[in-house]
Each structure stands twice: as C-alpha cells, then as structure tokens.
C-alpha cells in the first residue's frame, strides 16, 4: 500500500516539467542511509538471509527487501513503472540478464565503476550480460545455463555408454532406447516450445548450436543464413518425425519437467533448478545431465541469470554501491549456491570439490555457461523476443516453411534494429 501511495505521489510530482533527467552520466554515489532491494519473491528465504547479514553490520544503513511478483514480466513492469514515475521506492534492482540494455538505454539504472568489482574472477559470458555499449551497468548475481537431462539408466541398458554430443547421436541413442520394453510410449526429446520467452531461448540455442547467430557481435540481425536454417530445421523436423512429441508445442519449463519426471521423455532440455526436484521424483537416481548437443559437436546454451543494478532515481547511492558489492561478493554467491541452488558467477566455485559432490551438475553447468551465448543484447528486447517467438512458432506449427520464417524474422529484426 505504501509503495502504491508513493507511486501516486511521485506520479503527480513528475507531471510538472521542471524535473530534469534523473540519470547523470557520471553518477557520484553520495548519501548514506536506509535503502531497498527489489527482486522476485524469494521462496527459499536465502535473499532475506543475506540481507539480514548486511543489516547486522550496518544498523544505520538498513536494506529493506521489496518482494515483487514471481512472474518475470510483472517484475519488469513494476520496475519500469517505478522508473517512469522517477520514484525512489526501489534502490537496488535485481534484473534479468536480458534487461540490461533496455534499462541502461532508458537511463533507468546508473553506470557502475567497473574497477571496484572483481569481474575478472567471474565467468566471461556472464559479465558480458551486464554491459551496455562497453560500460558496466550491473553486476552479476547469479547465472544460468541450459543442460541436457537424460535417462542414464535406459541409455545404459540400451548399450549407449556416453552422453550424446550431437543431435544425430541423440537420435541414434533414442532409436536404441525405444526398442527397450521399458521405454514403451516414450518420446525422445523436448524443450520449451510454447509461444513465450522459453521459445526464444530454445530457438536461439538451436540456431547457435548449428553454428548460426540471431544477432552478430555488433548487434545486427543475421538470422537468414544456412546455418540458422539447419538449427531451426532440427526442431521442425523433430516435430515432424516424432523425435519431439507433438504436445511439446505447449510445454513451458514445468510441463517439460513433469513429462520427464513421469517417464515420458528420454532427453529434456531444461535449467539447473530441475535437478533437485527430479531427485525427489520417480526418476531419482535414473538420470544425469550433460551439456546440450549441437549439429556437429557440443551445442551452446542460451545464457540466463540475474544481475544487480542501481536505480537512477534512488537516494543513498553510496550505501547502495556498498550493498551491491556485498550482495555480489564471493561469500554471498556461495550462500546463494548452497541454500538457493543458484548458479554462481564466480568461476572457482564450479571447481570446488566439496561443492561438486553436493551438486553433481556443477561441472556440466560450468561448461554450459562457458559455451553459452547471450540472447540478443538490444534495447527493444521485448519486441525482438516477440518477433522470434512469432516466426519460430509459425515454423514449428507448420504454418510457415523454415526458410520463409527465417526470412521474415530477419526482416522483422532489421526493422526493429533500424528504429
């Protein structure tokens, strides 16, 4: 209620045009005192625990945790609303890795002093997601990468010893497994193919794993290429020949996880969070993970994760900068990994023997993240993602040929990047 009241008040306040641009290009980080941290609802309670640690040391600069809805779109919307009304209700923001460009370009977040953060100790692809035009606008808090979950028990029984590294190997393994009586009614592979952000992720992975790109290094769309077509064709053909079950077109993360856990799938592409949940299900002990396969060798995952940024309109920025350092330091990352099973941005944590014993997927996840490709880093990410979903969905549905879909996508992306 207080936040809502604050929004109304600031909305009225900002309607007079005297207020100038809130974002200065060289922020001074002055002022100390209480601040807020806005992030998604924290089900494990670990975020509050880390914040409590700070509050104990800094009784005069307390951090209040503002819990936003767990739906990603709603989080983004509330943060944009906060920025549009130039409200100081949120000080430190937890941003999805793909929002950095949009928030930075709108000057909703401040540029941060890169030298003050241990970025060289973090995984390089993760650090890249925090930059806009080579300037640092956020600090990595957690990372995320896709992995290939598979039924190791069935593969072993069918005489397949190693995890597949290419799509063809995966299909060959499926052909062997499907001959087993235990595998009756099982489908080979699924990812997230419903028309939402997950489709953007899976489409980009297919394209990148076949050697194509959605946008090139300079941010220009270059998706109408033979390599990209091979990637999309893998998905389209898999739907046609039943490698991917046809109901997978309605799968988001959870539907796919349930299908895998109930023994309907041999291979599943999903995020690390599935590991601990599947360990408690029917397939416990019967599965393991591998890096995503590709066309001719290991595939590339799409990079997920969260970064921490500083709202341009906040007060007490000196405190905020210190809090960001504390929140993203090595100790906090270890706590997030141990208690929230969030993939850390620090490279050395993946090589820790004791942790690897507890989280057997860590080495695979490290490979996945190191091979990962960030989603297009563009200001209008929402529109880019919509365009990808539109065309990829049409191709998977059979409404368009993959050639036509890629051609239309290239056109749509060009139009968006021209704006």
């Amino acid at each position: 209620m207080l936040v809502a009241a604050g929004l109304v008040l600031t909305a009225c306040g900002s309607s007079d045009d005297s207020s100038s641009s809130g974002a200065s290009k060289s922020p001074s980080f002055s002022g100390r005192g209480p601040i807020t941290f806005a992030a998604a609802k924290d089900s494990s309670g670990v975020v509050q625990k880390v914040i409590d640690g700070w509050n104990k040391q800094h009784p005069k600069e307390k951090v209040t945790f503002v819990q936003l809805p767990s739906d990603v779109n709603q989080q983004r919307q509330q943060m944009i609303q906060n920025a549009e009304t130039k409200s100081d209700a949120y000080t430190v923001l937890s941003l999805d890795a793909v929002w950095t460009s949009e928030f930075a370009a709108h000057q909703w977040i401040d540029q941060l002093p890169a030298a003050q953060f241990p970025l060289d100790k973090m995984l390089k692809p993760v650090v890249e997601t925090t930059k806009y035009r080579d300037h640092l606008y956020a600090v990595p808090q957690s990372s995320d990468g896709g992995m290939l979950y598979y039924r190791s028990d069935l593969l072993k029984k069918a005489g397949v010893s190693a995890a597949p590294t290419t799509w063809a190997e995966m299909q060959a393994a499926c052909a062997k497994v499907e001959k087993l009586p235990e595998a009756k009614g099982m489908s080979c592979y699924a990812g997230q193919f419903q028309k939402y952000e997950g489709l953007t992720v899976n489409f980009s992975e297919a394209v990148n794993s076949a050697g194509g790109v959605v946008t090139d290094a300079g941010g220009k769309p270059d998706v109408d290429t033979p390599a990209a077509k091979k990637g999309l064709d893998f998905l389209v053909d898999s739907f046609k020949d039943g490698t991917i079950p046809k109901e997978a077109i309605t799968y988001q993360e959870e539907e796919g996880r349930q299908a895998f856990q109930s023994g309907k799938l041999i291979f599943l592409r999903n995020w690390p969070y599935v590991y601990s949940l599947a360990e408690k299900s029917k397939v416990a002990g019967k599965f393991t993970v591998a890096p995503l396969p590709g066309l001719t060798g290991a595939g590339s995952s799409t990079l997920g994760g969260h970064n921490v940024a500083l709202s341009s309109f906040a007060k007490n920025k000196a405190t905020a900068l210190d809090f960001i350092k504390y929140f993203t330091n090595h100790d906090s990352a270890t706590t997030f990994l141990k208690e929230g099973s969030a993939a850390p941005p620090y490279a050395d944590l993946y090589d820790d023997q004791a942790l690897a014993k507890q989280y057997p997927y860590l080495p695979v996840l490290k490979k996945s993240i190191l091979n990962a490709v960030p989603r297009p880093r563009v200001v209008q990410y929402g529109d880019v993602s919509s365009a990808i979903q539109q065309e990829a969905y049409a191709a998977l549905n059979g409404d368009k040929s993959s050639t036509q879909a890629l051609k239309d996508l290239q056109e749509a992306l060009q139009k968006l990047s021209a704006q």
Binding site: I80, A105, H106, Q107, Y132, E255, S386, Q419
Partner: protein, 351 residues
C-alpha cells in the same frame, strides 16, 4: 417463501385502499416538501457534502481518463544512436496513433478488435441462455435446492486468475478435456480451438452471474400471474414467453449489459489460459497491455481509448435502444433527465 408485491406492480394497480400504504406514491410528496424548504444554506451544505465524492471521482476517474487521452497523442521515445540513450521526452504526434490503426500497423489492432467482439457476442449469448436456464432451475422448489444454488454459484466465486489456471490444467495436452473427448487437441496452441477453450472457460465462469440476477428478477414476479395464466390454459412455454421473459426483462437486460461491458474488457482469462501474443485470442485489453509493457505508452493509450469508446457506445446503445434500466429507476429517460437537471440547478445556483 412469501411472494412480495413489487412496487412497480403496486403502482400499476388501480388506486385502492392498499396502494397508498407504502412504496412509491407518497415519495414524491416528501420530495416536494423537501424542495420547498430548500434555501441557499442547504444548497451550500449539499455542495459541501457532495464535494468529497466529486473530488474522489475527479482523482480516480477523470484525471486518469484525461491523462490517457493526452498520452495517446504522444509517440514513442527515440534512441539517440550516438549516446545510445533513449531520449527523455516523448514526441507529440497528434492523432497519428489513431490513424495508424487504419494504416499498415492496424492489422494487429483489428485482429484484436474482432477477437474482442467475437468473444463478447458468443460468450454473452451462451451465458444468457445458460444463465436463464440456471435461474429457472434455481427458482423451482425442490429438495436440495440450496445445494444446487450454492454449487451453481461456485464458478462465479472463483477469481478469474485462478479459474484461468484451473482451465489450463483441464486443457493441458494430457488433461481432462482431452481424456474426455478421447482425442488429443492442443488447446493452448494457436487456432480456432484456442478460441473455443476461452469461450468454454468464460461461459463456465460467468453464466452464474446472469443466473443470479435473473433469479432475483424471477422472485419478484407475483405467483398470481402464473395462476391466472394456468386458468386460461396457457402452456408452460407460452407462460415463459409471455410472462416470465417480459417481466424478467429489466433484470436480464442489466445482467447482459454488465456482462457485455465485462467481456469487452476481457484480459486475464485468455492471457492465462492460452498465453500472451497469441493472435487467435488476443483481445484489445491484451494488446494495450502488451504495447505498454514494451514501453510504447502512446499507442497503448490510443488502443485503450479506442476500447473505452467502444465500450461506451455499446453501453449507450443498451440504454437508449433496449431501455436497460441501469440506475434502478423505472421512469422513462425524460423523467430521469429532468430530475437530474433540477438537482444540478439546486447545487449550482446558490454556489
């Protein structure tokens, strides 16, 4: 349950000893007495008492509406290629956001417009038929009636967001819907079946609302009318067409109007059940929300204003053409207007 005589029927009867006892007839006298003693003081008092309400209405209704209208005249902020920053102010584009609707960018708008209209016509049509049937069942006296009434009302009591999720489970690829029809339809993909899924869920949820309002209307119809009809040998169907329907019409019209206005604003059910940006179920509200979430507030406001005008026209049509009695006043529109005008004069002249 005792049948109460509605005031309307009492007033229509020839004046007898009973009709002056209560209800409408003495009311105008009271009002007239009040008007006679109205002075500048009471007028000021009235203005003072009404002003908080007017202030709240201005803040809650008028201000956002005007802001939305203003916003719809602005375009989207541009990106400065040199600095990489989005400009601070929105350019004034006049009516361009509206004219774009009729241009090349209008395809998505018109698709959403027809989806909205289609959903409204089909769902309200089905709801009316099913709702009236529900009301007739609930009105009948039989054992276990309380249970039936309660169970019919459950869907209306469930929040739309929850029922959206509920139906998403039902329409899941291996959900109950597919198990029942014994054939796999992927309801939440694009296509006509997605529309059907939304219609089924919407009708399930809101037919009880019409049922409830119609039931209220049914309960004030005096039983003697039916007895007289039965004496004259009217069949049940004839009784329904010539007694029930005309007498329940005021309540039914209000119910249908409310449902129409609600259905035109439909957002959460298709959004949760089928998903955002699905052109087969995208409504105008969803389109406006999508534009706003992509930081294009100008076009979003223009779509919202277009929807507002559409809703307004439908409401006006109902009140003017069909005579829906929304205010709960049985008098004709002329009488309503006159009374409103005189009230306004009383407030304004002294103040």
């Amino acid at each position: 349950m005792a049948t109460r005589t509605p005031p309307e029927t009492a007033a229509d009867r020839p004046p007898g000893p009973a009709s002056g006892r209560a209800g409408r007839p003495p009311a105008p006298e009271k009002a007239r007495r009040g008007r006679k003693s109205a002075t500048a003081g009471t007028g000021r008092m009235a203005a003072l008492l009404v002003s908080p309400t007017l202030l709240v209405l201005t803040v809650v209704v008028l201000y956002p509406t005007i802001m939305a209208l203003r916003e719809s005249l602005y375009g989207t902020k541009g990106l400065d290629p040199k600095t990489g920053f989005i400009s601070d102010t929105e350019p004034f584009v006049g009516l361009q956001n509206y004219t774009d609707i009729f241009g090349e960018a209008g395809e998505r708008f018109w698709n959403a417009f027809w989806n909205t209209t289609f959903f409204t016509v089909v769902t309200v049509g089905l709801e009316t038929v099913i709702g009236v049937a529900m009301a007739l069942i609930m009105h009948k006296a039989f054992s276990g009636r309380a249970l039936i009434r309660a169970s019919i009302l459950i869907p209306w009591a469930v929040p739309t967001a929850i029922s959206g999720l509920l139906w998403r489970w039902i329409f899941n690829s291996d959900g109950i819907a597919n198990a029942l029809i014994g054939h796999q339809i992927l309801w939440t993909t694009e296509g006509f079946h997605a529309k059907v899924a939304v219609i089924i869920a919407e009708v399930w949820k809101t037919a009880p609302f019409i049922g409830l309002l119609v039931l209220a209307g049914l309960q004030v119809i005096p039983r003697e009318v039916y007895e007289a009809a039965r004496m004259d040998g009217a069949s049940p169907l004839r009784q329904f067409w010539h007694i029930t329907l005309p007498l329940v019409k005021p309540a039914l019209l209000v119910a249908v109007l409310f449902r129409c206005l609600d259905a035109l604003r439909m957002f959460d059910l298709p959004y949760l059940l089928v998903g955002a940006q699905k052109s087969s179920v995208e409504t105008l509200s969803m389109l406006a929300q999508n534009e706003a979430s992509n930081v294009r507030f100008g076009p979003a406001a223009a779509y919202a204003v277009a929807l507002f005008v559409y809703v307004l026209l439908i409401a006006l049509g109902f009140v003017r053409l069909l005579g829906a009695d929304v205010v709960g006043d049985a008098g004709g529109p002329g009488r309503k207007k006159r009374r409103w005008a005189s009230k306004r004069n009383r407030v304004e002249v002294p103040a």
